[in-house]
Each structure stands twice: as structure tokens, then as C-alpha cells.
Symmetry: C2
Subunit: 496 residues, 2 copies
């Protein structure tokens, strides 16, 4: 089968067109603030629009059909093309002149990782700060389409299971599902972003900070406009609780939000993933809060005001960090790697959790953990009753064996890539803790990590090769591994 | 089904009888050296023999049949009963008066982990030192029976696959296989131990050190009679090369050794696991040696003489530590956690490798990694061709799907237990690196770990609870997880 390269190019052109459009918004904001970056961003926008339109023009006579193999290429190349064009505003405005750094920051944006190479965020022009947040938000939109419409068709990591629950026509073609389901969920995504912006503004943030943090929350991205991240508002609990609420929503299945607005509350209560997602957060928060309150070596008070007392402060910071890590948002109100040794291991473990399927969160995700745990328990039963067929059930339905296989395969691959990821970072000179923390955080699209990459630090200290390697890990993690890695197998390139 | 508790007790009695017998040997050696521990060891022996004989006497009228469920209980209780009786020589001789410490040292012995709580090994009486090495060797014998005869029948972790290759009658009853196959392999095990003792003596070790180290090598245990472990002989490369050879053999499938003695060399060359086991060792050694030679921060020379030059020294230490960790023997010639950050991560990764199936090595094991990697690669092919049935092949045979499932289930459970293991150690106050290193090392039965548990240190600094927790991890890891954990599930205790 020859690949339909025309349609791949055409879609890349379309992506560039959209990206260029978003850059125009950033240029406009830059102009309003007269922050000095306007011309740079505008040139980036025009360049991107021009290349996008050209690509679309020269491939206008393409066949409309997209086959599976082309699907993988479109998704992976799509994210790379977005990052290559998305770094132009940084470079042209001289905000991040170095190509490695600019690419890292952009890839970290579109993959909604939120790891940064910037030592002083607050010195950046407003237009650039907005562009940075927008890369998150655009990435989040991409993830929604991916989860709802594309990955299930590509047969990746058990997403079929989840897609069966999604609203919209159930055809096997990409187009109707994208236009229909994705649009509904994008609308919710947009609505939540607007709602958070409004609430944060009312709670006392500036409008600029409010919109930037909302863009970074709903996409579970984690870029902040402040060097201290959300710790900047440690004396304003209300702001942090609002962010907590929206991180929770961003890490839950958007399809459930859709049901909520349709009044189908029953569907939400019955959803096994949502139950466990909530239960995990509650359980882990209580555990963390007790440890922080009674044990933390570095008292929360040391650099944190406690407007509502030590109890509330312990609870809030614990809840905030548990949700920030589980949903892979990665906002920071306190350095959890400095709390206690136990909590350091604890948060390291949480890095492997991930939010819900159908959310913008990265990581392994609750649905997969649930199925792996269920299957693991049943494996004991199967060991005892060798001849019985004992299937896994999820949301009251029997899960097909090949899907369970698929999910476990994903888990194994994730762990393997984590170990290789850490080894490579170690080879590049990172110490043990930073290497395994950096790999786990990049692969899970979390953002903050451990050791020299702790929540109060950033990724700027990495050698250039390490930055590129983290870009690869972020991309592979974000696109559910298979989408990217399959391009590296001989099976893919064999003509059949 | 009511459990046949009589036969369980009867077999426990038999185990105690054997154990008491071995203690007599230690008492005898103690007497020859007049080391002051003779009476203590003798009392331990008599106590053990008495309890064993009593148990056997009172259960002499048992039904001969052993069912699967009883199999799990016999294996797990067997190791615990051995450890409970095996710690008596330490306690009665006052060598290790503390019960927690004595139990830890004994469990570490029988599980062939080789982690120690002793700060000064060389001050121990000879009889106790020999007993310590004997616990390894007895544990190794147990592992051989387990791997060849018991686990395959219990349907655990893909061992069925390996057992099909083993020599001996192919019936479904435990007895004929145990008596037949296991005896042949025990003979090889004994032969190798004698051969290593002889060679080490010839190379310059004292006879006492030679036999102790041989007992600890063939069982992949790792207890040494020297505080410095094998680093004591860093100026005698020949001794270390001999140990390297026998660690390699101990970590390879004993069935292959059997074939070698039968002259069936073809069977060895064709064995996929052996090929990869060897290839991994060669590859990892070259990599490590290059890094040590060109990069190591702590030069090997600092506390190591280099009788044959820096090149040989780098090669030897790298080869030694790679084999010591892969085969989970855990002998130490140099502190690999002090070499370079990369090698620290590297050796941490190797902790998850394990030797061959059918060896005395612990860990996940090469066969499982091979099948997981093969299946993982095929998963890409399956993703591209959704309707094709693409089975995994191993040693030129198609592997049944439920066995692949079994193996992947083992891997997932292993990783889960590792994370929980590390979390608990963290909760008990260990720092991050020590917690994850200690969990990986205990679960894999390696011995030396990282951080405060580094190869030059020991496990004595752990709090008591931490020692008991490590005992659990060592036992679960040694008995291939399912055997122990299945006893903790409700399925097991449900009457059917
Ligand atoms: K993030
Ligand atoms: K060992």
C-alpha cells in the first residue's frame, strides 16, 4: 500500500493554518500590551500561515480517504509540525533565541507537559506568555480529538473500550466522529476555560493571569505566568481551590461532563473510572495531608503563609499537589520533594497514575490501572481454576481479551520506555534521582520532577541532548506510545 | 475442598529434619574450629530435629495425595518454617541475639538474597559462618525443585513453558518429577559446588573461605565470609574470574548443564534464553567497562590494586558486577553505586533482569523478558493488522496465549509490588534512593542496593519493621510472587 502523502501534507497545512491563526491572537495581545514582541510574533504567524496555505494549495487534489497507517503518521507528524512552527514566536521575538530551548518549550507546551527551560518567566513579554499558554490549550484540543476519534480507530492501548461510551455516530470513518463528537467536547473545554477565567478573576487574579492559568489548567499543561507557579497565591486559598476544581474536571472524562450537562447524572455515578479517579484523589489526599500535618520535615509554614491555619494549609497543599500530579497538570504550590522521604516516593508513584481516559491528562490513566488490577486479581483465580474462562468486566460489560492484552502491553511498554528514558538521562550525566524523576515526569507529561528537576527548579540545567530526549519522551507519552513508536518498527514501513 | 493439613505438617516435619541435619554439619565444623558456638548450634540442631521428628510422627497416617492448593501452602510455609528454625543457631550461639535480625539474616539466606544485618562478619565463629552459607545452599536446592517440579504444576508465571523442556517423566504427579529430575539437577549443583571449592582453593583461598563462597555462589546467594565481600581478593584476579565463571553457571538453566554433560551441545546453542542471557552479559559488560575505564568519577584504583593494569581492572570489575547483579548473586568487588550516575541507573535497571529460568537466580528472569519483548514487538504488528492472529514463538514453538498472559501478569505484579515495597520503605523513613533500591534488591533477591544500602553498607540501619517488610519482599520475590500472594486472596480460602 502506497501512503497517501498528499492528504498527510494537506492536513499538516491545515494544522499550520490554525496554528498561525492562534499566533495572530498572541500578536494582537502583544500589540495591546506594547510588550515589544509584537513584530516577532506577527512574522512567525505570517510565516506559518504562508507555509500552511501553500501546503494546502499544492495538495488540494488529494484523495479524501485516510487509512490507518496514514493515521499514525498524521498524528505524530502533526505534533512535530505544530512544535516546529510553534517555536517561531519564541525565536523571532528573541524571547528564547536558542533552537533547542525554543523547541523544548514548545513541545512541552503542545504535549501539555509544562516543563520549562525558562529561569525567569515573569520577565517575558505578555504576548509570549499568552502564546506559551496557548500551546497548552491547542495541545489539549488535539488530545481530545485524539482520544475520542482517532486512537480508538488506530486500535491503541485500550482506547476502543472508552470510545464505545462516547456520544456521536458510531461509524468506522474518521470524519463524522471528529466533526460531531469532538466539537461537542471542544465546546465543553472552551466553556470550562471561560468559567475558570471568570472565577479566577473574581477571586482576585488579574485578567491576564486568569486566562493564562485557565488555558494551562484545562489542558492539564501547567505553564504559569509566575516564577513561583501557583505558590504565588499561597495567601489566597480561594484561587487555589478554584484551580483544584478545574484540574479535577480537566483530569476527568469530558464525555462525563457532556452527560452532566445533558442531565444524565446516572451515567456519571455508574462510571467505574470516575469512581476510582475520585476515590484515589480522596484517599491519597487524606494520606498526604496527615503526613504533611504531623511529619513534614520542611514545615509548610516556612515559606507559606497560612491564612486559614496549619490544618487547612496542610490539606490544601496536599490536595493541590495530589490532584496536580494525578491529573498531570503539574502546577506547584509547594515543593513536595522536600516534604518527607515517604511523600517523595509517594509522589514519584503518583507520576505513573495519570488522569481519566477522555480527559486532557497524560500518564497511564486510571482506566488502564483499573483493568490491570482487575485482571491481576483474576489471574489468581485463573491460577486456581486452570480450566475456567474468567473474563475481566468493566462498567458491567465483559472486556474482550485482546483489549486487556492491549492495555497490559501498553503498561509494559510504558515501564520499558521509562527505564530506557532514565538510563539515557543518566548517561547524559544526570544523577540517579533526577534521571528517573525526569523520565517519569516527561513520559507522563507531568512537568515538575525530582532532584535537580524538582518543582521549584526547571529543565534548563539539562544538556542539549537531554532536552531533545525529553522532547521525545513527552511526545511518545502524550501520543500513547504506540502512535509514535510504531513508526520506528519495520512492520510499519513494509509494503503489504 | 478441605485442605489436607496432615500432609502439610508432615512435609514441614521432613524439612525440619533435613534442616536439623545440616545444622549438625555446622555444629561439627564449629567443634573442629573450637569457635565457641558449638553448643549453641548443637542445641539448635537437636531442637529442630526433635520438632521435625515429632511432626512427622504425629502425621504419619496422612493421605499421600497433594492437591494444588496444598502445594501453594507447602511452598510458602516451607520457606517460613525453614527460616524460623534456621535462625536458632544464630540465637542460641548468641551470634545474632536479636530475633528480628536473626530472622532477617536467615530469610535472606534461604531466599538466596544475601542482604545482611551484620556489621562485622569476620568476627563470627566459623560454625556460624558456615551455617550462614549453608542457608543459601539449602535455599538453592529448594529453588531447583521449585522451578523444575512444583511451579509448573501450580501454573505460575510461565514456568510451564520452561518445564516442558526439562528432562524426566512427563506426568502430572508431583512425586516422580521431584525424585527424578530434581535429583539429577541437585547432582549437578553439588558437582559445581565441589568444583568451585577446589578451584578457589587452588587459586589461593583458604579451604574454609573456598567452600563458603562456593555455597554462596551456586545458590546465587552472595553471603561472604569477609566484610569486603569479594573485594577482599581484589589483588587476585584469578579468584574473581573463578567466581565469575560459577556465577554465570549458577544463573544459567541447570537443565542446560545436564544436556552439556550428556553431550547434547546442540540443545544449548539453540536455547534462546541462553543466547540472550549470554548476549546481555557480554553487551552490558562492554558498555559498563568502557564507562568505568573512561569516565568513572571514583577511579577503580582508589581502593583497588590493579595487578594487571587499569584496562583489565575495569573489565574485571564491570564483568563481575554485571554478572553479580544479573544472576542476582550480589557479590561485591567494587561499589558500583559510586562509579558514575549513568552506571547507577544502569545497575538499578539490571536489578530487574534476573538470571535464567531453571537456575537458582531470582528476579524477573531472562525468559520472561524475552517473551515480553517479543510479544511487545508483535503487538505493533497486531495493531497494524487487527484481524490477524499473531502468536509469540519461543525456542521454535508457538507459545500458548494464556502463558504469555501469565508472564505479563507476573511482570505487572512484580512492578506493583516493587512500587508498594518502595513506598512502605519510604514510609518507614528511608530516603528515596535507599527505598527504591532496597525494594528492588529485596524483591529480586540481589542483596546489595543503593543509597544507604549500597554494596559497601548493609541492611542493619533499617528500622525493625523495615527488616520484616524486606523479609516479605524477599520471600515473595523468591517464590515467584503468586505462590505467596495467592494465600492473601479470598479466592484461595473459599471452599469450592
Ligand atoms: K503537565
Ligand atoms: K543474592
Amino acid at each position: 500500500m502506497a501512503l497517501n502523502s498528499k492528504i498527510i501534507l494537506h492536513i499538516m497545512g491545515l494544522l499550520l493554518l490554525c496554528n498561525g491563526g492562534f499566533m495572530l491572537i498572541a500578536a494582537l495581545v502583544s500589540g495591546i500590551y506594547a510588550d515589544g514582541a509584537t513584530l516577532g510574533i506577527a512574522i512567525a504567524s505570517i510565516t506559518t500561515l504562508f507555509i500552511g496555505i501553500s501546503a494546502m494549495y499544492f495538495t488540494r487534489g488529494h484523495k479524501k480517504e485516510v487509512k490507518r497507517k496514514e493515521g499514525y503518521l498524521i498524528v505524530t507528524f502533526g505534533w512535530i509540525v505544530m512544535s516546529l512552527s510553534g517555536m517561531l514566536p519564541y525565536i523571532f521575538s528573541n524571547a528564547i533565541p536558542d533552537i533547542t530551548n525554543a523547541f523544548f518549550e514548545t513541545m512541552s507546551g503542545y504535549t501539555t507537559t509544562g516543563a520549562s527551560i525558562l529561569d525567569d518567566i515573569e520577565s517575558l513579554p505578555e504576548g509570549i506568555l499568552l502564546w506559551r499558554s496557548l500551546t497548552h490549550w491547542i495541545g489539549g484540543m488535539g488530545i481530545i480529538v485524539l482520544a475520542i476519534a482517532i486512537l480508538p480507530l488506530l486500535g491503541i492501548g485500550g482506547m476502543q473500550l472508552f470510545a464505545a461510551e462516547a456520544p456521536g455516530p458510531n461509524t468506522d470513518k474518521l470524519h463524522p466522529r471528529i466533526t460531531d463528537t469532538a466539537k461537542r467536547l471542544w465546546f465543553i473545554y472552551l466553556g470550562y476555560t471561560a468559567a475558570e477565567t471568570l472565577l479566577l478573576k473574581l477571586a482576585g487574579m488579574t485578567f491576564f493571569d486568569a486566562i493564562n492559568h485557565s488555558l494551562a489548567t484545562l489542558s492539564t499543561g501547567g505553564f504559569s505566568t509566575k516564577n513561583l507557579s501557583l505558590a504565588y497565591w499561597n495567601d489566597q486559598p480561594l484561587i487555589q481551590y478554584i484551580v483544584i476544581l478545574f484540574m479535577f474536571l480537566a483530569g476527568s472524562n469530558f464525555v462525563l461532563s457532556y452527560f452532566a450537562f445533558k442531565g444524565k447524572v446516572q451515567k456519571i455515578i455508574k462510571d467505574e473510572e470516575f469512581k476510582f479517579y475520585s476515590a484515589f484523589i480522596v484517599g491519597f489526599t487524606i494520606l498526604a495531608a496527615l503526613v504533611v500535618y504531623f511529619q513534614a520535615n520542611v514545615p509548610v509554614t516556612e515559606y507559606h503563609p497560612m491564612p486559614l491555619g496549619a490544618g487547612e494549609s496542610s490539606f490544601r497543599h496536599s490536595l493541590f499537589q495530589v490532584i496536580a500530579v494525578i491529573t498531570t497538570t503539574g502546577f506547584v504550590t509547594a515543593d513536595f520533594t522536600g516534604w518527607t522521604p515517604f511523600l517523595t516516593v509517594f509522589f514519584f508513584g503518583l507520576m505513573f497514575m495519570g488522569g481519566s481516559a477522555g480527559s486532557t491528562a497524560g500518564g497511564i490513566k486510571v482506566m488502564r490501572h483499573l483493568l490491570i488490577i482487575k485482571n491481576g486479581l483474576l489471574e489468581f483465580k485463573r491460577t486456581l481454576h486452570i480450566n475456567a474462562v474468567i473474563p475481566v468486566r468493566y462498567n458491567n460489560k465483559t472486556v474482550k481479551e485482546h483489549i486487556v492484552y492491549n492495555i497490559i502491553g501498553f503498561f509494559v511498554l510504558y515501564m520499558l520506555l521509562f527505564i530506557i528514558g532514565a538510563l539515557v538521562l543518566g548517561a547524559l550525566g544526570l544523577d540517579f534521582v533526577s534521571a528517573i524523576g525526569g523520565a517519569a515526569s516527561s513520559l507522563g507529561n507531568v512537568g515538575p520532577a525530582f532532584g535537580s528537576l524538582n518543582p521549584l527548579s526547571n529543565f534548563n540545567g539539562l544538556p542539549d541532548l537531554g532536552k531533545w530526549w525529553c522532547c521525545f519522551l513527552m511526545l511518545a507519552g502524550r501520543l500513547e506510545l504506540f502512535t509514535v513508536l510504531i513508526l520506528l518498527t519495520p512492520y510499519f514501513w513494509k509494503r503489504t
